[in-house]
Symmetry: C2
Subunit: 142 residues, 2 copies
DNA sequence: CCGGTAAATATGCATATGCACTTATCGAGT
DNA sequence: ACTCGATAAGTGCATATGCATATTTACCGG
């Protein structure tokens, strides 16, 4: 008998997650285009807005991202002046990251654009389902 | 008053989707490493296993991916001999894609590895929740 | 047949992703 | 102080992602 993979595309968790992430990211990036932020860059700004100084590794963990990936994702943002980094005085290995004033200002401008994308997203998935859905995504990511 | 973005990381659909996609993809790629397939490559093989000949654009639509992205993702797979492409006899613009015998054989070897990754995934998200979760992801991707 | 518009795909550029490996630093035990 | 294992971060390589733009082909109205 022939191999039948016909159920795999819809069953595969990885495939469905990646496709949804691609499609949703494109919509958020379209919304954020006026401020010139990519989807991942917006996430980094948000993550850094929570704390004054964050070690690179801790930030990568929070984003569920390889340290080496984050290292490179930071570059265009630092070049643009949105982020600053400084060595930890107590541990010279650690690179502490922080938002600049410019980064904070841009985040403020980006916020309503994000809000709009978020609302458009909830036109597709009823917002009441989101807390539950988020929890499932976090379980998958954990 | 200061801007407070403290709710954004957990609320942002885009962020949660991307993070989950990253983490889950890494686990599938680890499982698929013995056959040397990346997560997206496995998805392409599966998608092509459904039909004998698929136009590039139609495949891209099915994957929720830009045609230009797919164009390049195909390259290493064609170079490796997993896929073949030929022009459509009725429309010289169209590139028809198909699995090679080697591609089909590799998919067969990859299948149990995928199955294992899938099962590990369901250790994190109860499988009973998957049909519903999949539907939500498809709504987000649509 | 010709000209113009639409469609399918490819290219240039920039960012994103992570593994294997390397470098620098820390801290504990001697 | 010294060595050594552990930890934080960076590099080289390869694939992934998509927008703006270019190229080729199709099709339709004249």
């Amino acid at each position: 008998m022939l191999d039948d993979f016909s159920n795999v595309p819809s069953d595969c968790v990885m495939f469905n997650l990646r496709r949804a992430a691609r499609m949703v990211s494109r919509r958020y990036e379209e919304a954020l285009r006026p401020v010139g932020l990519r989807a991942g860059q917006f996430s980094i700004l948000i993550a850094l807005s929570q704390q004054p100084q964050v070690p690179l590794g801790a930030l990568a963990d929070g984003l569920g991202m390889e340290r080496t990936t984050l290292t490179r994702n930071l570059r265009p943002m630092i070049r643009r002046g949105l982020l600053a980094d400084s060595p930890d005085r107590n541990d010279a290995r650690v690179r502490l990251l922080s938002l600049t004033d410019e980064g904070r200002a841009l985040l403020k401008r980006a916020s309503p654009l994000w809000q709009k994308a978020q609302e458009e997203t909830f036109d597709r998935l009823p917002e009441a389902l989101w807390p539950d859905t988020r929890q499932r995504l976090q379980a998958l990511a954990g």
